[in-house]
């Protein structure tokens, strides 16, 4: 494939201060757009993965050049200005093609090799196992067992091959129930709560239409109910708004009729569909990208986008599930329409509220693998990996990550990971650098032979886990069930995600980074102390042999440390398009500065002086223009 390789004298426009905009060279590689800015002695590189580009837009020609607006799925915005119209057109054409691959094989993951051998690759893919999580929950037991009926994806093509089902549900009930559910997505176990014996199960909507019923499906729900000796009924939660569910009845689908099922308590939750969520995000991003909004514009825009209302609706549903399980000891069956969007959000959120394991770095991987990847959340479609139907795209998974972030704001000590972890996962989901989020269900992934052709993300994240740790995490608190407040005023706008690249908006000193560096210092200090104590002992003659230093923990670190990895830029830079702080930052009078971001806590003398000229408040410059000349 031929495309433009580089264009010189391209301007990267600074959103806040046009004067500060850089002049540099744009490169297009097979996988990345790279913008290089060379000033005096500083070289700044901005890397954007083609897969991260969601749209490229040519704006009307201006006196200063030919503008191109690039929007990314990571919510980065690049505003480029070309001197020649032809360059702009060429880059535009190239990016259109590069950012919208048509076939799976064109995705980055099929090219990317982190220099692992086949054995590492295999181990990487086996690192997170849903089967292990079933045993962690205590399956199989007296009530639940692991079924291999879907081994060949014959009962349900979008479900995983192993399913948790009630022990007393016969094969006929399982297969019969599947036939009565949209796309065969029958009720199966999502999470088993050992303490209360209550379970969270998930499925798709029943094909009940206006009058149909199915004995096997009714028996299936009965079996789920009977699998919980602690509660005589189960909740059936339809996460959709009632109106949507009723509309589906006309199409032969719908929701459970309480009269036909014994001992169910039926409940709607009112989470909107993927189209409304897509539009809502669109509106939110418009609010985020306004150049200098007034407070009133911003708050009104935030309200009108409906985004936080939707986040709250997901959270409300998750809290409902968790409460039913831990307080009423009742099992819950959850569905929406197909049971792969809202159902995945709600079930996984309930898992996090109920089970501290899922609040750990590894636990979140397991949860995503279980509720999202294996249960057929259509990552390829929802993330728009390929140039397919734009109406299938929706930020369902993003909303889940945001709910976790909202929880972490209310409970700062219960998550092992920090905000960077959630943002990194989000970036990776859209990056297609690793194979985990390619395809729409397990069967598709198997057909694509992803495990042979691509690598798994999880070992990579685990290797970098020091970046993702929450220094405030307290294991002692981990056993508690989380009971978040869902009052509207406890939901915040997630600036770290949606304005991630507007560095000027973030706190200039980060408590998290400060604490992370302290914990790192602490580890070093502990190591030094051990070593000093040993040396003292030797000097005292207590220890005989001063032959050499004891292996320090770093040297003993996990074997994966030692495996060859890709050059740093390849493995990290590529998925974290690096923008030097000041390129995005604003501030009048800051023209002459700066190569460092904000006044970093604990920074050296030099850093401190250079950051003194920190760009300012976004708007102060305009204010000077308001000078009244005469009256």
């Amino acid at each position: 494939m031929s495309h433009v390789e580089s264009v010189e004298y391209v301007k990267l426009l600074n959103k806040y201060a046009e004067k500060k905009s850089a002049l540099g060279t744009l490169y297009l590689t097979a996988t990345h757009l790279i913008y290089v800015e060379q000033t005096n002695n500083a070289r700044t590189e901005t890397w954007v993965l083609h897969h991260h580009i969601v749209s490229v837009e040519k704006l009307p020609l201006t006196a200063s050049g030919c503008p191109l607006l690039i929007r990314c799925k990571t919510f980065q915005l690049l505003h480029l200005l070309f001197q020649r119209e032809r360059d702009c057109q060429d880059v535009y054409q190239s990016l259109l093609r590069l950012s919208q691959p048509v076939k799976e094989e064109e995705l980055y993951a099929f090219l990317y090799n982190p220099h692992q051998n086949e054995e590492d690759r295999r181990q990487g893919w086996e690192f997170i196992s849903v089967a292990n999580d079933f045993s962690r929950m205590g399956l199989s037991n007296d009530y639940w067992e692991i079924s291999h009926l879907n081994k060949n994806y014959e009962i349900c093509s979008t479900y995983p091959s192993i399913l948790g089902v009630p022990k007393n549900a016969s094969v006929a009930v399982v297969t019969g129930s599947a036939k009565f559910r949209s796309r065969g997505r029958l009720p199966v176990l999502s999470y088993y709560h050992k303490d209360t014996k209550a379970a969270i199960c998930r499925c798709s909507q029943p094909l009940s239409g206006l009058t149909s019923r199915c004995v096997e499906d009714e028996q299936m729900l009965q079996a789920i109910s009977q699998a919980n000796p602690n509660c005589p009924f189960i909740y059936v939660v339809d996460t959709r708004p009632k109106l949507n569910a009723m509309a589906n009845r006309a199409a032969g689908k719908g929701y459970e009729n309480e009269d036909n099922y014994s001992n169910i308590r039926f409940q709607f939750q009112g989470i909107e569909n993927i189209h409304i969520m897509r539009n809502s995000l669109q509106k939110l991003l418009e609010v985020c990208s306004v150049k200098s909004p007034s407070m009133s514009d911003y708050l009104t825009g935030l309200e009108n986008s409906g985004w936080l209302r939707h986040i709250k609706s997901v959270m409300d549903a998750g809290v409902f599930l968790a409460k039913a399980v831990c307080e009423e000891r009742a099992s819950v069956l959850v569905h929406c329409s197909d049971g792969w969007d809202r159902t995945a959000q709600v079930c996984s959120l309930a898992c996090i509220l109920l089970d501290p394991y899922y609040r750990t770095i590894k636990g979140l991987m397991v949860l995503i693998e279980k509720e999202w990847i294996s249960f057929g959340h259509k990552f390829s479609h929802r993330c728009g990996h390929l140039d397919t139907d734009p109406k299938e795209v929706s930020p369902v998974f993003t909303q889940f990550l945001e709910c976790v972030w909202q929880l972490s704001e209310q409970f700062p000590c219960v998550f092992e990971f920090n905000e960077h972890y959630l943002i990194e996962i989000h970036n990776q989901v859209y990056a297609c650098q690793y194979g985990n989020f390619i395809g729409n269900c397990q069967k598709e992934r198997l057909d694509m032979r992803l495990h042979e052709k691509t690598f798994s993300l999880w070992p990579h994240l685990l290797k970098n886990q020091h970046l993702y740790r929450n220094p405030l995490y307290r294991r002692s608190l981990e056993s508690t069930v989380l009971r978040p407040s869902t009052l509207p005023l406890h939901f915040k706008f997630w600036c770290g995600m949606y304005n991630h690249y507007d560095r000027g908006m973030h706190p200039k000193q980060s408590v998290l980074d400060q604490l992370l560096s302290l914990t790192q210092k602490q580890e070093e200090g502990e190591r030094t102390m051990t070593e000093l104590q040993r040396q003292l002992a030797v000097a005292d003659g207590v220890l005989p042999d001063p032959s050499g230093p004891i292996n320090t923990p770093t040297e003993q670190d996990s074997p994966s440390e030692k495996t060859p990895t890709a050059p740093f830029v390849q493995s990290n830079g590529s998925c974290l398009p690096l923008v030097n702080g000041d390129a995005e930052e604003a501030g009048p009078g800051a023209e002459k500065c700066i190569d460092k971001e904000g006044a970093e806590p604990g920074a050296t003398e030099h850093d401190l002086t250079s950051s003194e000229d920190k760009p300012v408040s976004v708007e102060t410059e305009h204010s000077k223009e308001e000078v009244q000349e005469s009256s």
Binding site: L308, P471, R474, L489, H506, Q509, L536, E629
Partner: protein
């Protein structure tokens, strides 16, 4: 004692106290001249002491003979008292109403309060203008300390000592004073050591409709400019508002008369609008409804966050003129006692690292608010639950504290103090056992003899035992000018004040403790490592040299 006649029922048993996020407490309710006290019989540790002065308004309800009084406090807390017996309840309610709205300042609690601690350092002596002037003198000789306002006759709301340009004599000052609203002629607010630029503050000039001018006023502010340099006048009002002020005798500096100055108008609203904004915001925060749209639209409609943004933007502008443009600045609004002080004090927090220490922040409040004549008593007479028609109440100081919190949140390692200090100042500005925030200006405080008859807030805060609560564990002193972001995404609702009573702080407290723990442990560890190093070094010099790895 004169309070006795206001207290018809001094004591009721079997009263239930309800507070959000806390279990109900049953106990005995007592009223004293200054406090409402509820103490639990079962458990002596559970006691509520509420200053009557802290009570903003009350509501009463009856169900049969059980009366309920809902007490709404100036610190935004709402508590509910269930009082058996209608008569008792009515008596208590009317006593609270009377005692919480005493008109005479000299009946306030600070005049009765005797400290249970030893006053080591008298807070009344914390800020001595002469000493501050000595500091200034060490940097520049262009200023002098004037006694023109010795008896508060030139400007009733100014302190007796004022820093003015050396070349301007007292007579000129008097003339300039007569040209400024309330006699508030331009005085020095801040000297920027880095480049020698200054920030002055004043009230609006009294140009009126026919464009009066005052040579002395012009000379006074021009004296602060270096040759050939221009300065900035920041008028906190919009040009339209400033124009309207002319009709009432006020106005703004005409270019023709002040050719060396550029005037910039900003849109900080007058203090009377703020009270309404606070009431709406607190109403929104107390709304327990589950609709997101309703919350966001109420938050927007309160306009509080807009005001935070506007004030911070103006403060950044002032700081920028001084630090970036290397120009001197004069700030004023109308009276020069509200928005002017918000701007000058915030600009100093941005520019001057000293203001970010506890001591420096106290001095800033003392100098730029108390001495500068912010009318605390008028502004803080009522808070968000006032239901009477507002007179001159306005949360000007609270807004300032909110802005400081916003900067603190963006620069969590640059302040010696934490959020608790700001919240504490908010509480004490509205109701306190200390005399610091009584009165409206220095002249009034002198007349009330506050420094003899009451204890200063600073005497209490600066005790090591108290200070600990206000220390920011992340503080690392730096000499930076800190530029906050004023993008709406960067300005959050100050939960520590506005959601303080509507949320459980258990998890946040745990996080705080954990943070302190990490920092403390780290320090300990470094100390241990250092002492081990020393031991080893000693051993090595004493004994045979050892091969170090």
């Amino acid at each position: 004692m004169e309070f006795a006649e206001l207290i018809k029922t001094p004591r009721v048993d079997g009263v239930d106290l309800h507070r959000p996020f806390m279990p109900t407490v049953e106990g005995t309710l007592c009223l004293t001249g200054h406090h409402l006290i509820l103490s639990s019989r079962q458990d002596n540790t559970e006691e509520l002491w509420l200053l009557h002065a802290n009570i903003d308004s009350i509501e009463k309800r009856f169900v049969g003979s059980l009366g309920t009084i809902i007490v709404k406090c100036k610190d935004l807390r709402v508590i509910q008292l269930d009082i058996p017996g209608m008569e008792e309840c009515l008596n208590i309610a009317s006593s609270i109403e009377a005692l919480s709205t005493l008109d005479s300042v000299s009946l306030m609690y600070p005049f009765f309060y005797r400290p249970l601690f030893e006053v080591i350092e008298d807070g009344w002596q914390l800020f001595v203008p002469e000493e501050a002037f000595k500091d200034l003198e060490s940097m520049t000789d262009e200023w002098r300390l004037s006694e023109v306002n010795k008896d508060f006759s030139v400007c009733p709301s100014y302190p007796s000592l004022l820093t003015v340009p050396k070349d301007i004599d007292d007579e000129s000052l008097c003339k300039a004073a007569s040209f400024r609203h309330g006699g508030r002629f331009p005085v020095l607010s801040y000297y920027h050591k880095k480049n020698g630029m200054v920030m002055m503050r004043a009230a609006q000039p009294l140009t009126g409709t026919n464009g009066r001018r005052c040579k002395e006023d012009e000379k006074l502010i021009n004296a602060t400019l270096c040759a050939g340099k221009r300065g900035y006048i920041i008028d906190t009002r919009t040009i339209a508002v400033a124009q309207q002020a002319k009709a009432r005798g006020g106005g703004f500096e005409q270019e023709a008369n002040y050719p060396q100055w550029r005037r910039i108008h900003k849109a900080i609203e007058r203090s009377n609008v703020l009270q309404d904004s606070l009431i709406k915001l607190v109403e929104a925060c107390n709304d327990q409804s589950h609709s997101m749209d309703r919350w966001l639209s109420k938050l927007e409609a309160s306009n509080w966050q807009s005001k935070v943004k506007e004030i911070l933007t103006t403060a950044c502008l002032a700081a920028q003129c001084i630090d970036r443009e290397g120009a001197s600045v004069l700030v004023h609004g109308t009276e020069g006692t509200d928005s002017t002080l918000q701007v000058t004090s915030l600009a100093q927090i941005i520019l001057d690292p000293a203001c970010r220490t506890i001591r420096g922040f106290e001095v800033l409040i003392e100098r730029e608010w108390l001495q500068a004549g912010h009318p605390f008593q008028q502004r803080c007479a009522q808070s968000a639950y006032s239901n009477g028609k507002p007179r001159s109440e306005a949360p000007v100081f609270l807004l300032f504290l909110d802005c400081v919190w916003q900067i603190l949140r963006q620069f969590p390692c640059s302040f010696q103090f934490n959020e608790n200090l700001l919240i504490m100042f908010f509480e004490h500005a509205y109701a306190s056992q200390f005399g610091t925030f009584l009165g409206n200006c220095v002249a009034e405080r002198v007349k009330l003899q506050l420094s003899q008859k009451t204890v200063s807030l600073w005497s209490w805060v600066n005790r090591p035992q108290e200070l600990e609560r206000f220390l920011n564990p992340l503080y690392e002193p730096n000499n930076l000018v800190i530029w906050p972001s004023v993008a709406p995404q960067s300005l959050l609702l100050w939960e520590g004040v506005f959601l303080r009573w509507n949320r459980s702080t258990k998890c946040l407290d745990e996080a705080c403790q954990e943070m302190v723990h990490i920092i403390e442990y780290n320090k300990e560890l470094q100390n241990k490592v250092n002492s081990l190093r020393r031991q080893l070094a000693q051993l090595e010099t004493e004994e045979s040299p050892l091969q170090t790895p």
